[in-house]
Every structure is written in C-alpha cells, then in structure tokens.
Symmetry: C2
Subunit: 96 residues, 2 copies
C-alpha cells in the first residue's frame, strides 16, 4: 500500500512540558516515517525548541542533524493592545 | 597599516538588555570590520540571541544572514548542587 502524503511533519512548541515535544518529534520520525521535522517556536518558547531537539538527540535519535535554521519576527498585540515585535524560529531537523 | 588579526568576533549573550548585544554585533561588523560574528547563548538567553539577531537585521543590517546554527548541551550544577543539562546555541551570522 502506498503511503498517503501528508504535511504533518511540523511541531509547534507551546506551553506543554518539553518532553511532550520530544516525544512528538520521535513519533514523527519513527512511527510516521517522515524524512524531516520542522520545529517552530516563538518568543519565550524558543529555548524549549532548542531543548526539545537537544533532548531528542541525547536520548533517542543520536544521528539527528539540523538542516535549516531560520529566524523571523512578527508584530503582535499583547493583552493591553500594545504592539510589540516577537521573534520566532523555524528549525528543520533530519536523521542522517 | 595592516590590520592586526583578532579573535574577538564572538558575542556571548548574557543578562544585559538585548539592545546591548545588538550594538555589539553592529560594532563588530561596521567598526571592527569582521566578516562574521558568532553569537553564543545558553538556556533562557537563547531567545535573546535570536531576538538580538532579528533586531540587528530589522534596524541596522538588512542583508544579515545566518551561516551556521549549532545546538549543544552541557551539564551544569545549580546553586543547590543539583546537576542538570542546559542547552546552548552558537549562531554564526554574516553580511551578504
């Protein structure tokens, strides 16, 4: 049976514990069989994105490599309606 | 007069406001004339590293590009002597 193509190889880092994202990455590679995973994070979650990738590499996928790293920023409004610029990252990883 | 070679093209992101690091990066490129700048940060400062690069690009150096992005981790002891792994990044940037 042919595999149906899908665009679910992205992990958006949010407020959950880092291990949730580690397991999401591992599942994409090992169960879904994707070639690469796109990890996206914004603002204060950027550290968690790096941490998730590093933890995935240390604990589960030794040959994990970074293919692409992009940074960007977008203007956002906070609760009080004040506009501020928030940085974001997109990190593409793959198994060598 | 020949320029003396130096290895001061690295910026370590710490506790200062992000604009300090933005100005450090701009000074390295525009006054010191280095070809590339290495931005290093650890743990919670990783966001600030991304922010500094993004702000430098938006405000001062439009053609700023990322050459290399590495992540790593090291074991550290906190105040109570508990060992924990802290992720770090090294981002090499250049003017295109």
């Amino acid at each position: 049976m042919e595999k149906v193509p899908h665009q679910t190889n992205a992990v958006l880092i949010g407020k959950k514990p880092v291990m949730n994202y580690v397991l999401a990455i591992v599942r994409l590679f090992n169960q879904e069989g994707v070639d690469e995973v796109i990890v996206r994070a914004r603002g204060g979650n950027i550290y968690k994105a790096v941490d998730a990738i590093e933890t995935t590499k240390n604990l589960f996928i030794k040959n994990l490599k970074i293919k692409k790293f992009d940074i960007n920023s977008e203007e956002m409004e906070d609760d009080k309606g004040t506009k501020r610029r928030v940085s974001s990252v997109e990190i593409v990883i793959y198994k060598e």
